[in-house]
Each structure stands twice: as structure tokens, then as C-alpha cells.
Symmetry: C2
DNA sequence: AGAAAAATGCGTAAATATTACACAAATTTA
DNA sequence: TAAATTTGTGTAATATTTACGCATTTTTCT
């Protein structure tokens, strides 16, 4: 344990943290990973004990190559979820002078998208939980605000990025994809126009799963055609809706 | 002057700065405001002396309400340009562990748009200068990279925001507006289609400047119709190009 | 001075994209 | 067992985007 008052500077320095908004999708609802604050953390972080919060923590000045590394490291430590640094997208800085009661702390918020079905098992259930969007409890610090901003960023990004790639399992149905878009964009689409548009981009391939279609009520399975998607993206497209 | 080694913390803290990319437009070219490092600054900031850099400086932990306040304060101190905190848009965080040779410094980059004709006189010519885009010298620290990212952010934002409002003088011509769009988006548009699209949005009003039009080679003057623009923006539009 | 080139405004036809909408079949719900 | 819901498919009407011609005046070139 570090000795108290070990590090001195000529001018005041703020503490810097990275916070993570991790979005998942279970085929029906958008979800967010939250942690319960308090329990087994060291003394210096005992603010808002017992409340729910975004996973995140302090920049390690000597070890974290970038602030995204902080995000990845802290997410792992606090929730068990191991993501690549590249999976984190920066949302923005939250720097209000009073946002942390202990000292001046500015945080760089990030978001990440995960395939819920593949990572849910990794989530340390003692400390962390997945909450449905629209069923989020009040959060510690200014994390409510951070969550709103992160969501609106996701909402913007969905126009240009294949968020489906990251949130959906390998195989998925068109209704699932549409529901995901509707959840994020908070609108409803005409089923047929949605399908036409998606097919027009040619980034979906129908999956032959052996079972001869039993009937029209059993939706077809698709997977993303990564090659076509990448080509499309390089040429600068808009996955416009 | 603060005594050396006055501030102590239990854990290491990074220094935090705000950097500013200030864009202007002179009717022909996009420009950026840069400062010459070195001269009359205190001892602690004598890295990259003599090189050009983005204006910016350290967060005042006790006084700066947010990091955007840092940006506004430092821009004023270093260039004489006095902008409102609201004029700064966050670009992102640059946190590479070695980006500053002195100590760990993470910076939050911002950009701002100004009417060059109205602020050029305020610019302190001893310390700062306006550089044409495409004629930017090598910059200190990782400021080259910051500049590129800021520009690409501006390029994105122009689809949804009226950057013309901020960069152009009160009155301007359609060719000027088009040239501005072309400079930022780095493409060429068909003159007639550009005009049609702009007029279709109904955010331009033709200015009657008394002088009966002398000929088609004298472009008409317009100003922005702020009311219509605001209404359009509230309803969620895309100033699509 | 005169000729050539470039810039401006205006408008329209063709191509492309978006929107609205109906039906048949199978599954789920009541 | 009937009713309601869900899925797939396709087309006509509407709106948007793109490509382009012409008359005129200023600027540039010789």
C-alpha cells in the first residue's frame, strides 16, 4: 500500500478516471452493465457506497498507456469483463468542479458494445449486473448524465457504424436487427422498408441452417457479410435511417 | 508564485490541459490559429520552445469550472481571443503516456469556429498567427494529430450544424458558402445543385443592398435566417451533402 | 481594344431513393 | 377452434438527388 502523501507537484493536479458504459443486447432489449459501489474497494474510493454506478476508475499514471487502457483495465477489475482497448469509444470529458465530493476528479467517459450472450457468463455477478434500458436505477456521481450522453452518442454512431456487428450474436433474424435499431433510435420502422433497405446494402447473408423453413412465422437467420460491410464503409456510406 | 512541491497526493496524478483548435474562414480558405511557444511563459512550460503549437494550457483545479473554461481562459491568455465557453466543442482526449516529455499530461482537445473578419484584430500578433489550412507548419507535442482529429470532427459536424453561421460574416455570397463547404468536406459540388439545396432548406435570406444588380457576375448577398434554422434543427434535420 | 475564359443565376429532365401499403401462410394466443 | 399476431414478399406513388444548357457579365489574356 502506498504511503500517504507520497506524490508532490508544483501545481495542483486533478485526479483522472475513465468510466465505461457497456451496452449489450439480449435480442429484445438494450442493456447496460452497472456495478454496486463500495464493498471491497480501498479507502480512497468510498464515496457513494452502496449505490449503483458505471464501472471505471483512476488512471494509473505510470502503467496505463492511454486513458482507454484505464477503461479496459478497470472494467476487467470491477466486472470481470475483458475487452480490447480498441472496443472502447470515447464519449467525452466530464469535469464539473464539484462532480466528486472528495477531490477534483475529471473523468473520460467511454462506451463499448458487447455480444451479451457471449459475455454474460464472464460478468462477476457479486459486483456487477445488467440492467435493461428504461429500468436503470439512480446512479452515483454524475453517472446518470454520462449514461444519457453515451446513449445519444450511440444513437448518432448507429448511422455510420455497424453496431449490429458488435451487439448481435453471429446469427440473428431481421426482426431482431430491426428491434435493435428501434431500441437505439427510439423510433418504429415499417418492417418491409427496413428489410428492403438492409438487403439493399448487401451486408447481410442468409444462413442455410439445414432445417427447411417450417413456415413464414419462423424468421430467417442472417449473419453479417463483413467483407461487404468493410468495403462499403471505406467508400464512405451512411447506414441511414 | 507557488512554492515548489507544495501539493501532495496519495496517488500519482497526471497534469491536465485543454488545447484549442480555432478555425476561421476568410472567404477563400479555412484558417487555424497557432501560437509560437516559449518566450514569456513560466519555467514549467518550456518544452518545444520556438515551435508552433495549438493554444492551450493547464487546468486550474480550483478555478476552472469545467475543462471548457480552461480552454476559454487559456485561449484568451495566449492569443487575446475572447470566446464564450459555449463556443468550444470537445474533440477528444489525447493521453499517450509519452506525449509530453516533462511529465504525464493528458489533454482534452476542443475546437471553436470564429468569424475571422471580426476577430482578426483581437489576435495578439506577437504570439499568435493565422495559418491557411494546407499551409500548417509542423507542430509541437502531438498537436499535428490533434489538428487532424479536430478537422475530421468539424467535417462530421458540418452535416448537422450550421458551421456557416459561425465562420461566415453576417453577409456572404453563395459561392463563398459553397467554397467553405468544399474546403471543409474536401469535395467539389455542382454550383447549381448546391444553390438549390441551400435554398430548399430556406435558411438563407437574400439581402437587398440597394445597389441594383450590375450583372450576373456580381454574386448576390445572403444572410442566415436564424429562426428557420433553429426550427429546422429542433425537428432534427440533416444539412446533408 | 478586342477576344477568350471564367463566373453567376436560373430551370428542367432523368435517375435514384424513400415511403406507403396488401396479401398469403404459419404460429401463437384466447 | 377461432382470432390475433408474426413473418416474408413486391409495387406504385412520391420525393430527392443528380446531371446538365443557356444567357449574361466580368475578368483575364494578348
Amino acid at each position: 500500500m502506498a504511503k500517504k502523501g507520497q506524490y508532490t507537484y508544483e501545481y495542483q493536479h486533478p485526479a483522472v478516471t475513465a468510466d465505461c458504459v457497456v451496452f449489450g443486447y439480449d435480442g429484445k432489449e438494450l442493456k447496460v452493465l452497472l456495478i454496486k459501489r463500495g464493498a471491497e474497494k480501498e479507502a480512497s474510493t468510498t464515496a457513494y457506497v452502496g449505490e449503483w454506478a458505471l464501472p471505471g476508475g483512476f488512471l494509473d499514471v505510470e502503467k496505463d498507456k492511454t486513458i482507454a487502457h484505464t477503461a479496459a483495465r478497470e472494467l476487467k477489475e470491477e466486472t470481470g469483463l475483458k475487452l480490447s482497448v480498441k472496443d472502447f469509444k470515447e464519449v467525452g470529458t466530464f469535469s464539473d468542479i464539484k462532480r466528486d465530493p472528495r477531490e477534483r476528479v475529471i473523468t473520460i467517459a467511454h462506451y463499448a458494445l458487447v455480444k451479451l450472450s457471449e459475455v454474460q457468463a464472464d460478468t462477476d455477478a457479486d459486483k456487477a449486473d445488467w440492467f435493461s434500458w428504461g429500468d436503470i436505477p439512480h446512479l452515483a456521481f454524475d453517472h446518470d448524465k454520462i449514461l444519457r450522453v453515451a446513449f445519444s452518442r450511440l444513437k448518432q454512431d448507429i448511422h455510420f457504424e455497424p453496431v449490429g456487428f458488435d451487439l448481435l450474436p453471429e446469427m440473428f433474424t431481421l426482426p431482431q436487427l430491426q428491434n435493435l435499431y428501434e431500441s437505439i433510435l427510439e423510433v418504429k420502422f415499417d418492417r418491409r422498408n427496413f428489410a428492403n433497405k438492409m438487403k439493399h446494402f448487401k451486408i447481410l447473408s442468409e444462413v442455410e441452417d439445414g432445417t427447411p423453413r417450417k413456415g413464414t412465422r419462423t424468421p430467417l437467420k442472417y449473419r453479417f457479410d463483413k467483407d461487404n460491410y468493410d468495403r462499403l464503409k471505406r467508400n464512405g456510406f451512411q447506414l441511414e435511417f
